[in-house]
Amino acid sequence: MNTTNTPSNAVPKSGRDTQAIAAAATSSTRPLYWSVRRELWENRYVYVAPLAVAVLFLFGHLIGMIHLPAQMRQLSGVDSEKYREAILQPYDIAAAFMMGAYILVTLFYCSEALHGERRDRSILLWKSLPVSDLTTVMAKASIPFVVLPLLTFAITLVLQFLMLLMSSAVLLASGTSVASVWTHLPVFQMSLLLLYHIMTAHALWPAPVYCWLLLVSGWARRAAFLWAALPVLAIAGVEKIAFHTQHFVTLIGRRLIGDTQLVAYTSPDIFPTDPMTHITPAPFLLSPSLWIGLVVAVAFLAAAVRLRRHQGPV
């Protein structure tokens, strides 16, 4: 992430208006761009952790492939649906691991994001530069909502592709046909489904949880994660004692893990023959709970921006 050359400030000389517009655009996007860069310099785990998970998984897959030729011979008798499911399974597991890494990194990042700069006093440096609190908070929010989803998507794709190459090589070496594996893997649909799944189930749907953590990280003097979790525990406890219900915990849990019914599949126990037919974005995108969640998330972010204005070193 280390570059010494910076993009130049040059603007087209076609007219004063274009220049002014370009200057205005650069002046608002450049601080955001560099603020995101600085998040990645500071928090290298944002990309190191998913990469490490992918490498480890690939290593595991490599060892597991000892059994692959035998497994394929066993599968030759079963019907097409089961066959397909068996072929797809390792790729789904790979994706699931990457999602897990994404959630963990995001939770950790969000509960640190606005705390680290106050702890090491560097907030006084950042605030001495012409970067608004809004830009800073947006740059920090872009990590869980833009950088990590896209990164997770890209790494998962590469991981699955490498797995496929490795499997093919092993099968070829053992004299088994590769063609059936390739025809049963709808690569393009799988990647679209993956991107959709990441953006909906892991970015938009749990947005209020991530933004709550961001907000608390800007408020807590220490142990931000604890302060973020305590109210949840307290509300759940009161609810349980007072009303013998646990709606609040269920609500938070659903936000964190995702609401599978809304997000993608019509029925989780039948694996889709064509993944694309089972993407039903409309009910998800039209569901009030998604939009309520997003409104709450934006409110938390707005509060985080206001809060940062008042905050100094802890």
Partner: protein, 290 residues
Amino acid sequence: MPCIEARGLRKAFGTTIALDGVDLSVEDGRILGIIGPNGAGKTTALNAMLGLTPYQGELRVLGRDPWTERDRLMRDVCFIADVAVLPRWIRVSQALDYVAGVHPRFDRAKAEGFLAKTSIQRASKVRQLSKGMVTQLHLALVMAIDARLLVLDEPTLGLDILYRKQFYDSLLNDYFDRNRTIIVTTHQVEEIQHVFTDLIFINRGRIVFSCSMEEIESRYMEVMVHPDRVTAARALKPMYERQVFGRPVLLFDRTDRQQLAPLGEVRTPSVADLFVAVMGNQAGPAQGAV
């Protein structure tokens, strides 16, 4: 339009009053020293000017409201709040990249030029640099910004004397010109009093003394009085008296030099002595100084 204009600036933290009605006007091209005991309100005053803290009263810095326009104001204002605010994880090259990326008035070549005079490596992380080097880096970043106002809050705290001297030398030789305004707070007054054009003493949230350095030279005189002339000297109503090596040293405000000369050796007091005199009088009944 003055660079800084404050009227009735107030700030309270709970029941503690940090700023108690500060009126201040700083013209362009001045170097203002703000001196005061710990907890006097210096940093609070600076923080208000830098948009780091909300306040009551009127405050304009370069014609802007610092609290609502901090990010816009920071294009024309630089500050070093503390020597230890550069994050330990950042590389020197990244710090240059970042400031060049976000600051429209940053001259990267100039910063590189300052760094070339030091032993700071581009690939080093801040955590690998000594405290003096971190200050040099921060100063190189700040001096390469074409700002109209530079605010330094205890910029040399914890540095050894060599770095302190270097710091102020580069500030004066390479940075200051008549178009810029500099505000400095420090406890090491002696080292930089020759740099100031104006001086403010602040105590318990109030400005207790405000004077230009020229005025100090013409107004205040310190006399190491001959032991046998002490009574005569005291009759001239000194604003402060102290003992040095058992001899009384009396500080006078607006007293005729002709009258003082026969009493002993007359000289201009140091800022530190003036500070002690003003603060000493603050403790007792207020007199003399504004």
